[in-house]
């Protein structure tokens, strides 16, 4: 099975909530919509206090080219446009809506069945995606429409769908593929249509073979192929699909490729290398090697936006942890307080030491639970006290494990020391800007050194220095 070549680690995947059907979280009393749910300029509110809004109505427009609008996920009255305290204690602007129900805007078919017809042009699709406020749901929240318009001098030939879900504990992408395979594939088709390309690869890690088989089966069904061919030859589904799909030159070709389990396979550059063997140049974007990477959740959101006119108002989340009563997958309206989501999973266990937003490797610990779900939310991981306690930090023994495991080929022990001593110029020379903050170095360090903390801070400082130099 394929995987990327450089570094990487093998944490236990702990998929406690795997194959648990999605549960829908009930509407809250007050929904809070932060204006900064994406990378780029914050959205600008276009509603006033006292306005009545419907579910799916745009309440804040994009604040620039790299920005995304915000839509209400509920129907109700705008209570106030004021600050709220985000998950890390900082004040951020948001629109607060008193919830009255879930009445959708007229042209949204919120719960209709699969629609496979799509005759829109590339520009029309991109416009629909931009208007629906879709951002990359893999965690970075980069506005999707920007990624679909690669620079003119780069020709893109492959769409890569990231369904790797390499973070331990998280399972909502897996569950999405199990429950909505046809919708996901339709979303992939639409993305290919938007990019005007004929090739897509869906990368899935080997701990989700049922999703691989299901998507491949779905592809056969779509092509109208007879299932008996498979059974007659008595070969596995995997092999025959590859045979069937490669002769097809006229229709867009979608491949589902299982990948060997290795973290951080979901990293953009790692995934491109694993699936195509191409290496993104130093400091370059995926389009430089002809690839565009989108998360599988984004593909589904694109399907909903283009086919059902439904903007991004719901996110899928995993709520999990070793001592959580009912770990599971949830569909949550944006703006719902995370307390409500935690309630659905059986509340916060008494021994909880940390509540992490996202997975254990790249997630960030919340300092309180009184804040809303946003486009950024992908999971809630509740770690018990013994797992959350910090380990005793010791001196670096120069074992080189971090260098061996760094998927970007950096020297984390050196960067961390430079960061500790504030040697920003040296860090820049050591290519700290290439760090993807995956945390492999900290995970693997036998001396429990907080390598990533120093490197991340150094990277922020170096990037600020580079920007300051550029603007001079």
């Amino acid at each position: 099975m394929k995987t990327f070549s450089l570094g990487g680690i093998h944490p236990h995947d702990n998929k406690l909530s795997a194959r648990k059907p999605f549960k829908v979280v009930a509407l809250p009393d007050v929904a809070i919509f932060p204006l900064e749910q994406h990378i780029g300029a914050p959205a600008k509110p276009i509603v006033a206090v006292g306005d009545k809004v419907l579910a799916g109505q745009m309440i804040a427009e994009a604040g620039g080219f790299v920005s995304a609008p915000v839509h209400s996920s509920v129907s109700g009255t705008v209570q106030k446009i004021a600050t709220f305290t985000d998950g890390w204690g900082f004040d951020k602007m948001a629109i607060h809506i008193k919830v009255e129900g879930s009445e959708w805007v007229e042209n949204i078919q919120a719960n209709s069945e699969l629609r496979t017809e799509c005759n829109l042009s590339s520009e029309e699709i991109i416009k629909k995606i931009a208007d629906a406020g879709i951002v990359g749901l893999g965690g970075a929240c980069f506005p999707t429409q920007v990624k679909l318009m690669p620079p003119k001098d780069m020709s893109v030939d492959t769409l890569i769908i990231n369904a790797v879900e390499c973070e331990p504990y998280l399972t909502h992408n897996h569950q999405l593929m199990l429950e909505k395979p046809a919708e996901v594939l339709m979303g992939v088709r639409i993305l290919m249509q938007a990019l005007n390309i004929k090739k897509a690869i869906i990368g899935i890690e080997a701990n989700k073979m049922d999703a691989v088989e299901l998507l491949k089966g779905e592809l056969i069904k779509e092509k109208g192929e007879c299932q008996h061919k498979v059974s007659a030859k008595n070969t596995s589904v995997t092999e025959s699909v590859d045979v069937l799909l490669t002769d097809r030159e006229k229709v867009p070709e979608v491949n589902v490729v299982p990948l060997k389990l290795k973290y951080p396979q979901g990293g953009e550059k790692q995934l491109i290398e694993a699936l195509t063997g191409r290496k993104v140049p130093n400091g370059g974007i995926p389009a430089a090697v002809g690839c565009v990477v989108q998360n599988v959740g984004t593909a589904f959101a694109v399907y909903e936006a283009v086919q059902l006119n439904k903007p991004l108002v719901e996110v899928m989340m995993t709520v999990t942890g070793p001592s959580v009563t009912n770990p599971g997958n949830f569909i949550v309206r944006i703006g719902t307080p995370i307390e409500k989501v935690l309630e659905m999973a059986g509340g916060i266990p008494a021994d909880t030491g940390k509540i992490i937003g996202g997975g254990p490797m790249m997630g960030k610990t919340y300092s309180h639970t009184n804040h809303p779900v946003s486009k950024r939310s992908s999971g809630l991981l509740l770690l018990p006290n013994d797992m959350a306690a910090p380990l005793e930090e010791k001196n670096c023994i120069r074992c080189g494990k971090c260098v061996q495991n760094c998927p970007m080929g950096l020297a984390p022990y050196l960067l961390a020391t430079q960061g500790e001593m504030a040697l920003w110029d040296d860090m820049e020379q050591e290519q700290v800007a290439n760090c993807i903050e995956c945390g492999c170095c900290t995970f693997t360090c036998p001396s429990n050194r907080p390598l990533l903390d120093y490197i991340r801070y150094g990277k922020q400082t170096v990037m600020a220095n580079i920007r300051a130099r550029a603007s001079k």
Binding site: G89, K364, T365, S367, A389, P450, Y454, R456, Y457, Q460
Partner: protein
């Protein structure tokens, strides 16, 4: 005997030739450096703290001599005395500046500001600040890991283990401003030292509304404006729920200190009043 004479002649002539070459080369490639630079650098404290905005004392001296002016340059460490001597060397008027000192604009000691969470990452304010707002309910307050203490080159700043806040030694503080740059919450500021070190200032930067600020910290400025009404010199203004005392207008009467309900206004270096002494 012969050997001695020969070697003397040979070595002597080499020495003379070399001396002539060196003399000519030194003449040809001589770099003129104003002797004033050395003299000015001599007068400066030589701490290379960067408080003046230059890379070090020598860079400061070079710039002074080059421009021949002292309008923008001031050595906060040396103060007016040193600047007078520099001015005398340059033959210009000395720039008089009020001596300054760093003050801490937070009085949320660990006793009055309960911890709600525990930070387990790297114990550095700069890194903790990028992670989240802080261990207590106040997002404006001191983090207490002592980035300022590390930044201080004059040993004038120490974290008090009981309060968790930095304490400034005003005798050692040279107002170089290194700590003001090190604090990610911008809680250290350079203020006028005041006559005999006396000054009145609001030791809080919480922009939260009164109730929230008070809940997070018993010593927070709640923006109640009592001090504004009390001040006879109109030196106090309240913006964003936090009071600010303009030290150009303040006459150190300390009436505001008495009315502040939370004790957020600090008066330092005043003699103890007799009736309080009992």
């Amino acid at each position: 005997m012969n050997i001695i004479v020969t070697s003397l002649v040979v070595l002597g002539s080499i020495a003379i030739i070399a001396a002539v070459i060196l003399f000519l080369v030194a003449r040809k490639f001589a770099v003129y450096e104003d002797p004033l630079i050395d003299q000015v650098a001599e007068v400066l404290p030589g701490a290379n703290c960067g408080g003046c905005g230059y890379a070090g004392c020598r860079a400061f001296a070079e710039n002074c001599v080059k421009t021949g002016k002292l309008e923008r340059d001031y050595c906060p460490v040396g103060g007016t005395d040193v600047m007078k001597r520099v001015a005398a060397l340059l033959g210009v008027e000395a720039q008089a500046s009020e001596p300054k000192v760093a003050v801490l604009l937070c009085n949320g000691s660990s006793a009055c500001r309960p911890k709600l969470t525990t930070y387990t990452g790297v114990k550095k304010c700069s890194i903790a600040h990028t992670t989240y707002a802080g261990e207590t309910g106040c997002k404006f307050g001191c983090i207490g890991f002592g980035d300022c203490q590390v930044a201080c080159a004059f040993d004038a700043l120490h974290i008090d283990p009981t309060t968790g806040l930095p304490v400034i030694d005003e005798d050692k503080c040279t107002a170089c401003g290194a700590c003001t740059k090190a604090c990610p919450k911008l809680l250290l500021q350079l203020r006028k030292k005041g006559p005999k070190g006396r000054k009145v200032y609001v030791a809080c930067k919480s922009q939260d509304k009164g109730a929230i600020a008070k809940k997070a910290c018993a010593n927070a400025c709640i923006g109640c404006s009592k001090c504004v009404k009390e001040c006879p010199f109109e030196a106090i203004t309240v913006t964003n729920n936090v009071a600010y005392i303009d030290d150009t207008k303040c006459r150190l009467c300390r009436k505001c200190v008495a009315v502040c309900p939370t004790g957020a206004i600090h008066a330092v270096n005043f003699p103890v009043k007799k009736d309080e002494n009992v």
